[in-house]
Amino acid sequence: MLKSVQTALLGATLLGAALFSPAHAETKINALFMAQAAYSEADVRAMTEAFTKANPDISVNLEFVPYEGLHDKTVLAQGSGGGYDVVLFDVIWPAEYATNKVLTDVTDKITPEMKSGVLPGAWTTVEYDGKRYGMPWILDTKYLFYNKEILEKAGIKAPPTTWAELAEQAKTIKDKGILATPIAWSWSQAEAAICDYTTLVSAYGGSFLKDGKPAFQTGGGLDALKYMVDSYTSGVTNPNSKEFLEEDVRRLFQNGDVAFALNWTYMYNMANDPKDSKVAGKVGVVPAPGVEGKSKVSAVNGSMGLGITSTSKHADEAWKYITFMTSQATQNQYAKLSLPIWASSYDDPAVAKGQEELIAAAKVGLAAMYPRPTTPKYQELSTALQQAIQESLLGQAKPDAALETAVQNSGL
C-alpha cells in the first residue's frame, strides 16, 4: 500500500518535473544538513533560496536530519555509492572522513581572502593531517546561560566564574526554595554528553589522549567526571539531565524551570524570543566557568563545517554553494542563531546589535575552545565515554572504574 502510494507520488513528481522544468540545463546538487541547534531549517532554506536566485543554473535539494543521524547517514550514503554532494560535518569527524575518503580535500580551493579573513580557531574544524576538507560554517561552543531574575531573587550578584562557584550558587537557589534542581545539562547517552564532559575536561586541564593512548582516566579527565557525579548526586542538577539532549535543556530554561544551563549559541536568541519563551529579557550568558588555579574559562569546540563528498559529480557547483553559505555576507545576515566564522564580523555593529552580551561571551569562549580527540576511531571512543558517564551518574560504577572500562572499550 505504502509502496504504491510512493510510486504514485514519485510518478506525479516526475511528471511534474517534466512539465515544469526550465528550458536551460540545470545542475542539481544534494545537500545534507541537520535540524538541531545552530541555524534553523528555515534559515538554511532561506540562504539556499538566495543562492539559487543568484545561480539559476544550479538547484539545491536540501535534506535535514537530527544531529544523531548526521554521521551515519553521510557514511551510509557513501557506502551505497553516494547521493550527497555537500554534507555538514562535525569537528570530530574529519579524521575518520579523511582516512576513509568520504570528503574531498579542498585545500587548493581556499582563497587567500578566506585564509586571512576566517578566525584561525575556526579552521581546526575542517583540518586533518595538514589538509582542509571543507569550510567551517557553524562556529560554536557551549556557554553558561543563566536566568537573571532567579539569580537576583536568590541575592546572587554575579554569575559564577568557577565550576565550584556554580555548584555553590545553585545550592543557594535550592536552599532558598526557589528551584528544586537549578542546573540542566544534556547528559543523554549521546554526543551531547561528551560535549558537556569536554567542557569540564578543558576546565580541569585534562586531556583525552597522550601519544595516541587514552589519558582521560586520570587527572583532569577524572576530575571532570567526578564534578558531574557530584553535581548530580548533591541534588543541584536536574536528575532528568541524564536523558536530555540540547533541545530538552532549552525548553526547560525557556520555561524558567532552571537557573543555569550549558548550551550552544542558538539558545540565546531563542530564549530571548517572547513568543516562545517565558524568560525573554532575563537571559544572561557568560563563557563556561573555569577551575581555580587551572583555568579562567572553559569551552568545547562544537563547530561544524561544510564539505564536498568524494562521490560528488558536481564538485564545482558544490564548492560554489559552500562558498556562498559560508560567505561573510550570508553569515552576518543570519547571525542570530549561529555566529560568523569571519574575524571582522565580531566588530560589526550590525552583527552585534541586540546580542552584545552573547558577542562578549563569544570573544572569550571561542578563543578558549578545546577540541575533542582527533582520531579515526572517535565514534568508538565517544560511545565508550558515554557509557562511562551514564554508569557513573547512575551509581553503577565509580568514576575511576567507569573511565578504566571506557579505556578498554575505546578501541585505542
Binding site: V75, Q189, N240, E243, E380, L394
Partner: protein, 293 residues
C-alpha cells in the same frame, strides 16, 4: 497428468519469483557471509580474510552476552503481554454490542502507525518534565513526584515494552478475532447448557480453535521482537548506560557507527541464526499442535 509434469510445471511457474528472490535475498545474504570472514570497513577498504576472528571476538566480548539477555527479556515480556492482551481484546470485540465495528476499526490504529511515529509519541508521553504519564499518575496520587521513565535502568526497558505492546497487540487481537469467527455458536451454546463456566468454555471450547492461528501470531511477533531496532533507537538509543541495547542496535553500532562492516556482518549472522532456530522450533510446534507429522 503425471506427477512429474506437475512438479516441473510448479517449478517453472515459480521460476520468475525465484530469480527475484535470489537476486534480492540470496545474493546479499551470500555477500554478508563472505563479509563476516573479513575485516572490511564500511567505506574504503575491501578487507582481508580473517577466518573466524570476528565470530570469536564477538561471542567472547562483554557486550554480546549482555545485549542477548536484554533482547531475550524484551522479546519474552513484550510478546507474552501482547498475546494475553490481544486475546482478551479479541474476546471482548467478539461480543455483540453497539459500536463494536467502530471499536474494531479503532483498534487497528496503533498497529497501522509507523513505528517511528509510535516511538516519538511514547517519548512525549514518558517525558520526565512535561509527560502525560507523569501528569496522570501524580494527579491520581499513584506516584508522589515526576519520574524519569526512560532515564532509569530499572524502568527504561519496561517502558519500552509497554510502548511496543500498545503498538503490536492489535495484530494478535486481529488474528484471534478472525479465528473466533470460526467457533460454531451451537457448540458454545451447548457448553453453556451443560453448565460450563466462562473459563471452561474458553479453555476447552474456544481455545482449540484459537491455538493454530495464535501460534502463527506468536512466531511472527517473536521474530519481530527479537530483531527490534527502531522503537528503541528512537526512544533511548540503547541508554541509559546501555540498559536497553538490543542485538540489532549492537549490529547497527558495529557496522555503521564504527564502520566495521566485517564484524557487523558476523554479528548480524549470529542474530539471524538465533532467529532461525526460534522459527524452526515454532514451526515444529505448530505442526505438532495441528497433528500433522
Amino acid at each position: 497428468m503425471t506427477n512429474n509434469w506437475i512438479t516441473t510445471r510448479a517449478w517453472f511457474l515459480m521460476l520468475p519469483l525465484l530469480i527475484v528472490m535470489v537476486a534480492i535475498i540470496g545474493w546479499p545474504l551470500f555477500d554478508t557471509v563472505r563479509l563476516s570472514f573479513t575485516d572490511a570497513k564500511l567505506v574504503g577498504t575491501a578487507g582481508n580474510f580473517v577466518g573466524f576472528e570476528n565470530y570469536v571476538r564477538i561471542l567472547s566480548g562483554p557486550n554480546f552476552q549482555r545485549t542477548l539477555i536484554t533482547t531475550f527479556w524484551f522479546a519474552v515480556l513484550s510478546v507474552s503481554a501482547e498475546m494475553v492482551i490481544g486475546v482478551l481484546a479479541a474476546l471482548l470485540l467478539n461480543q455483540q454490542f453497539y459500536g463494536r465495528s467502530v471499536l474494531r476499526a479503532l483498534m487497528i490504529l496503533p498497529w497501522a502507525l509507523p513505528t517511528v511515529v509510535n516511538a516519538t509519541l511514547w517519548r512525549l508521553i514518558y517525558n520526565p518534565e512535561y509527560g502525560a504519564l507523569n501528569a496522570a499518575l501524580t494527579q491520581m496520587g499513584i506516584i508522589g513526584a515526576y519520574q524519569s521513565w526512560l532515564g532509569e535502568p530499572g524502568t527504561a526497558l519496561a517502558s519500552l515494552i509497554v510502548a511496543d505492546c500498545w503498538k503490536n497487540f492489535p495484530l494478535v487481537a486481529l488474528i484471534a478475532l478472525a479465528a473466533l469467527q470460526a467457533v460454531p455458536r451451537d457448540i458454545t451454546a451447548a457448553a453453556m447448557v451443560d453448565g460450563a463456566g466462562a473459563w471452561s468454555r474458553f479453555r476447552f471450547v474456544i481455545m482449540p480453535y484459537l491455538a493454530g492461528p495464535l501460534m502463527v501470531a506468536l512466531v511472527l511477533r517473536t521474530i519481530e521482537a527479537f530483531k527490534v531496532f527502531d522503537i528503541i533507537w528512537v526512544m533511548t538509543r540503547g541508554g541509559p548506560a546501555n540498559s536497553t541495547r538490543t542485538l540489532s542496535i549492537l549490529v547497527y553500532q558495529e557496522a555503521f557507527s564504527f564502520q566495521r562492516a566485517g564484524s557487523g556482518a558476523s554479528l548480524a549472522l549470529i542474530v539471524t541464526l538465533l532467529v532461525t532456530i526460534l522459527a524452526v522450533a515454532y514451526a515444529a510446534l505448530i505442526r505438532k499442535s495441528a497433528g500433522v507429522s
